[in-house]
Amino acid sequence: MSTTFLPCGDYHENYKQDHAWWQTKFIKLKMILLFAVLFVGIPLCADSYWLSVCNLVGYTVLGALGVQLLIGFCGQLTLGHAAFIAVGAYTSTLLVLEFPWPKFLLDLGLAYPVSIIVAAIAAGMWSVLFGLPSAKVKGFYLILTTMAAQFITVDFVITQYVSQIGGRGQAFSLPPGTIKVGPWIIDSNLKVYLMMLALVILCVAIITNLLRSRVGRAWIAIRDNDISAEVMGINVVKYKLFAFFVAGFIGGIAGAFWISNLAAISPEHFPWFWSLWLVGVILIGGAGSIHGAIFGSVFMVVVMELLQLAVIPLADTYPKLLMDFLFIKEAAFGLAICIFLIFEPNGLAYRWWQVKNYFNLWPFSY
């Protein structure tokens, strides 16, 4: 699943071409088109509501990328990723609200961008801490130790202690104007959307690059066969912790990004169910593929929104539907995963790969 076939008649003449990101003119054109749609098309066409849906997609992608890295590429099952997103969100919030920033940084609007980087690193370190059991524990047992991360971080540390900072006790409110990137105050869905695009592209680039270099290959080797990975000279524990760090780092970026979209943050934004949701997203999108994280996020968020749109007109006749929407959402989530595991176990990304190869090889089937 890792490589696509080149179209008939396209050949590489040196290794540089073979290692390139976009290898043919057609792909370059396609990517330019995609960027045009993302940066120009959607902001022009979509209204504020659909932009907020896009932002939710982006947030899910950022979260799912870390889970994809751990589960799909490094084989470390995790069910506590929301904890690291929470660490990122809280670090960034506290820095923006409480940290005595020098005046010039505030004037330049660098406080929030710097806080994103610090939050990412803090979440990465926190993730490494809970990745330590992976040195000894494998497979299903690791699920429990990562779940511990969720409960210790969100339900204990953040709820009991971090929330007390400044005497608030429950939520941190983010007054309008606190989130400022350079000269722009992030106050509309459009601005959040553009920031989301930049961060998603950055994170996808980081992970793609890592996966085609030494570190990423070591991760995949650990997933496929950890004993022979160690025999081939890979320090398995070190690379597992690297994976936890990068996953936490991206989770931290996700959390720090998401506060730009919120008026206040509280521990309820990062429930255990969100960790589970992210795992569901990559199962539907396809484990072991970056496309998978993106397709899965788009699919899940859009399906849930459509479901909501479908429920609203029905609410006149069945008022209980709206009240119980949360349960409907969870049931739909479960159903979607069941259907995908049975009928499309390799996820949406595999189907996409097949379609792409079909057209690359056309008119022949081989």
Binding site: M1, S2, T3, Y15, K16, D18, H19, I206, N209, L210, R212, S213, R214, V215, G216, R217, A218, I220, A221, R223, D224, N225, I227, S228, A229, E230, V231, M232, G233, I234, N235, V236, F242, F245, V246, G288
Partner: protein, 276 residues
């Protein structure tokens, strides 16, 4: 005779690997009971013995998957008995496995690239940026892989295929390629010929001789194998193991004429119990 000619060719007769009185127990079962072995640089040193004799345990001790309870292991004069497998790989010990242990989800090329792991230098930051040094390094090593390994093993046509989808014989070949990518000084081959057809056996034997004899490689090999014809043809020395005990360590001629070997391992049957 053959062994003599070879040691002259290599010039010096230094010891690359030495096992000194190694004991390995699993509970009360003695898998290795005081094994001593000296492997000379440039040799193909075969280990033979009936099933359950402890051959694979011995290989696992050499490359660090098991740590023997007693005894020392020296590689290039250095005590490596306490080192983890990945540290030993850095020193230049590579191996293949009895049951192929390739990375099924990666392509052939990526499997072999992974073998270059200890020679590559880029870390997390370099990898994430993938500019300058990292990109150059990848291309340099790609050239090495294509010219030296893929060409040698004749696997050009499958380089972009996921290894998990390949037939068994090719997986074994990819595994050998991955081990060679490490540029090892000592290559442990654990039953490289098991489950291959005659043509594949001949190919594999040719590859083993190539990497052992070609100037560019000069890899010392430890060969664990049941195919007596191949063992006797390729080896400089043969070590016979039975229930954790050494029976004899000598040239193929000595081993073939040793009555104890014939009794313990080969039974009353024909000496050349091979498929040929």
């Amino acid at each position: 005779m053959q062994a003599l000619a070879k040691s002259d060719q290599h010039g010096k007769d230094d010891i690359l690997l030495e096992l000194d009185d190694v004991y390995m127990f699993f509970g009360r079962v003695g898998a290795l009971a005081g094994i001593s072995l000296k492997v000379k640089r440039g040799h193909i040193h075969s280990i033979i013995g009936p099933n359950g004799a402890g051959k694979t345990v011995m290989m696992n001790c050499i490359n660090g998957l098991y740590h023997p309870q007693k005894g020392n292991i020296y590689f290039k004069g250095e005590d490596i008995g306490k080192l983890k497998p990945y540290r030993r790989a850095k020193l230049g010990i590579a191996r293949t496995f009895q049951k192929v242990e390739v990375f099924g989800g990666m392509t052939v090329l990526d499997n072999i690239r992974l073998g270059r792991h200890v020679h590559l230098k880029s870390g997390i930051v370099g990898g994430a940026l993938y500019v300058g040094k990292t990109a150059r390094e990848e291309i340099e090593h790609r050239e090495f892989i294509e010219q030296e390994i893929i060409d040698l093993l004749e696997i050009e046509y499958i380089r972009d295929k996921p290894v998990g989808m390949l037939p068994y014989g090719l997986q074994k070949r990819v595994e050998l390629g991955r081990a060679l990518a490490l540029r090892p000084e000592l290559l442990i081959l654990d039953e490289p010929l098991a489950g291959l057809n005659l043509e594949e056996v001949e190919d594999m034997a040719r590859f083993i001789l190539d990497v052992n004899e070609e100037k560019r490689w000069k890899v010392t090999c430890i060969l664990v194998e049941h195919d007596m014809g191949v063992v006797m043809d390729l080896s400089d020395r043969v070590f016979v193991l039975n229930f954790g005990n050494k029976i004899i360590d000598g040239t193929p001629e000595e081993v073939q004429s040793n009555p104890e070997v014939i009794k313990a391992y080969l039974g009353e049957e024909d000496m050349y119990a091979t498929r040929r």
